[in-house]
């Protein structure tokens, strides 16, 4: 009897947690199919399957262009972070040089800066480089928060790879770049996917720098575009289209996480491969 009660309790708890996590997204989907005053009634099911809000959002203004901007920025940030992260991790974990530990700690410390604190300095840098109001300003600034954890995680993983594996490759005439690309990288897949995904999500959702460094509607990324969606009058927030836009931009991320979820778990838990 007690066993059955405990079972029920466990499932009930799981149901509560799932509801808590999933409900906002579900409600957003529902809201995106409502119009006008329907939005202010808490109906849990959409009155009709109505996709006109989506049509509005996608056809109005440069929203499709904004999505493309976000994709471009996120993909470039992931690519550059992983490249710099991998090569830095190789140096920090496999090459003996003095100042290694302080360097690693500095890298970690940088990630603790609040974004706002760095904002004005970054603005000067962006202006100096002439990339204001271009996607490159965002790519550059996002590296500030993606690189620290990428370097840190990849260094930790690479440190655990057996030294003899590297030595065998050296005996096989492999240069450091070949060792990195053909011996270490295949073994680091879980770590690469984890950090890559986190970097992607971070850049995709980022708002402050995107708001500050872009001006024209064409150059904006998605979070800013959604925030600046305006309705018929000054006092009306177009919740329907806003919900539709939010669902549109969240779906790719959710799909990616679902595809890579196994890799993420093994990346966070497993650690090294014992050759």
């Amino acid at each position: 009897m007690k066993r059955a009660l405990r079972r029920v309790g466990l499932y009930a708890l799981a149901a509560v947690i799932i509801a808590y996590s999933v409900f906002p997204f579900y409600y957003a989907i529902v809201s995106s199919m409502k119009h006008g005053s329907q939005l202010f009634s808490p109906a849990l099911l959409p009155p009709h399957l109505d996709f006109s809000n989506y049509a509005t959002v996608l056809q109005q203004g440069p929203f499709l262009r904004n999505i493309a901007n976000s994709v471009f920025v996120a993909v470039m940030v992931v690519a550059i972070s992983l490249f710099i992260g991998l090569t830095a991790a190789y140096a920090l974990s496999r090459v003996q040089f003095s100042g290694r530990k302080p360097l690693l700690l500095t890298v970690l410390a940088i990630s603790m800066f609040p974004q706002v604190a760095v904002l004005s300095g970054l603005f000067e840098l962006v202006r100096f480089l002439g990339i204001y109001d271009r996607p490159w300003s965002l790519i550059l600034s996002y590296l500030i928060f993606t690189l620290p954890f990428t370097v840190w995680v990849l260094t930790t993983f690479m440190r655990d790879l057996p030294k003899e594996l590297e030595e065998a490759a050296i005996m096989d005439q492999a240069s450091p770049w070949i060792i990195l690309r053909r011996v270490f990288m295949p073994l680091l897949w879980p770590a690469l996917v984890t950090t890559g995904l986190l970097a992607f999500i971070g850049s995709w959702n980022e708002f402050l720098y995107a708001l500050t460094f872009t001006l024209s509607p064409n150059e904006r990324t998605v979070p800013v575009a959604i925030a600046l969606l305006s309705g018929a009058t000054q006092f009306e927030l177009p919740w329907g289209p806003i919900m539709a836009a939010s669902v549109t931009v969240t779906v790719p991320v959710v799909v990616m996480v679902l595809i890579f979820q196994r890799r993420i778990v093994s990346g966070l838990t497993a650690g090294a491969v014992k050759g």
Binding site: M171, Q173, L187, V273, G275
Partner: protein, 380 residues
């Protein structure tokens, strides 16, 4: 096939001389074993030949060329690691072909070499498997195969059998010996197991550890296995080669002749050893050494020296028995080997004979006195 020559090779970590003044010549096609206790630097010395450790001072020649500052890939060597170090994400075939690919060898030639090596090592049915689907012995053979395909001048083995179980160790040991016979290549092999050293080597290099390295240099003795067995240069070598260890009895010189030295043990027992100890004066403290397999049971006859002791412990292995005797002549136990089973029981008083021609004698500095052995006891 290449000869390896080390000229006064040293390695220092700060002030500590890990490898001290090694002079060694390994002939083309020779099987050389580096052996020694933990911390003697045998793996370090091997890695210096490989190029994975820097040589602080001295010179290394491989195949007649100086290679002291060359990277490993240019030295014409291939290494088999203790933990195999196979690339986990590559198949057996790819593991063996990797080095050849990097050397930009043609596909046909690389394929031929890989298949030939797989054939020699009986790996052909396993070529498409990943390392995690292989047993320890199979992984070891892939590691050896990876070395063979490079057709190096010298093969380097770093304790390749340590991770295998006892039965597999013996089997793989024989395979390595056959490989050497087939390929005729020079091989340098590191192990801490003196049985592997004795059975595989054409030449054994026994390395000192600790204080002795700093004082006397890294190499304790180098030579053919039976040379180290019959004529150890000092007490350390005598105690390292042979298992169970040689028995050491402390005593003093009574008189020395060219072919015989009389000594007296702690309790007054007189023994004779067929050595020439004339370089020291009478009353010099010396150590008599005799191996367990050379001590004979039974009362001494005129001309042979003997001891009595009480059996403290008896080990029966089936192929031989070991009796450990307590005796007033030393603090420890005297180990005596007997063929087959023994009927000696613990507590029994036993008489043993120590034939003079099998006795070694070591001076106060540990150095051995030259032995006078008749022709029949020289097996080498």
């Amino acid at each position: 096939m290449a000869a390896v020559e080390l000229y006064d090779v040293n390695k220092r970590f700060g002030q500590l001389r890990v490898i001290n003044s090694v002079n060694l010549r390994i002939a083309d096609g020779e099987f050389c074993v580096f052996v020694g206790p933990s911390g003697c630097g045998k793996s370090t010395l091997l890695r210096m030949v490989a190029g994975l450790e820097e040589i602080t001072s001295g010179r290394l020649d491989i195949g007649g060329r100086e290679v002291t500052s060359l990277p490993p890939a240019s030295r014409g060597v291939a290494m088999v690691f203790q933990s195999y170090a196979l690339y986990p994400h590559m198949t057996v075939y790819q593991n063996m072909a990797f080095g050849l690919q990097l050397a930009k060898m043609g596909k046909a030639e690389a394929d031929r070499r890989v298949r030939q090596a797989a054939d020699i090592l009986h790996l052909t049915p396993l070529l498409q498997r990943l390392p995690k689907a292989l047993s320890g012995g199979q992984r070891q053979r892939v590691a050896i195969g990876r070395a063979i395909v490079r057709e190096p001048g010298v093969f380097l083995f770093d304790e390749p059998l340590s991770n295998l179980d006892a039965a597999l160790r013996v089997q793989t040991r024989i395979e390595i010996a056959k490989l050497h016979a087939n390929l005729g290549a020079s091989m340098i092999y590191v192990t801490h197991d003196q049985v592997e050293a004795m059975t595989l080597a054409d030449k054994i290099v026994l390395l000192n550890a600790g204080e002795t390295t700093q004082r006397d240099g890294s190499v304790a003795q180098s030579g053919r296995p039976l040379e180290l067995y019959h004529r150890p240069a000092n007490q350390f070598v005598a105690g390292f080669i042979g298992s169970p260890r040689m028995n050491f009895l402390p005593g003093r010189v009574v008189s020395a002749k060219p072919d015989r030295t009389d000594i007296v043990l702690r309790d007054g027992t007189r023994l004779a050893a067929a050595v020439d100890a004339r370089r020291v004066a009478p009353e010099t403290p010396v150590t008599l050494g005799i191996r367990p397999e050379h001590i004979l049971f039974g009362e001494s006859s005129p001309g042979a020296s003997g001891l009595r002791g009480q059996a403290s412990h008896v080990e029966q292995l089936g192929e031989a028995s070991f009796v450990y005797l307590e005796s007033p002549v030393l603090d420890g136990l005297i180990a005596v080997r007997q063929e087959g089973d023994t009927r000696i029981a613990t507590g029994e008083t036993v008489s043993v004979t120590l034939p003079a021609e099998h006795c070694h004698l070591f001076g106060p500095d540990g150095r051995a006195f030259p032995r006078h052995m008749d022709a029949t006891s020289l097996a080498a």
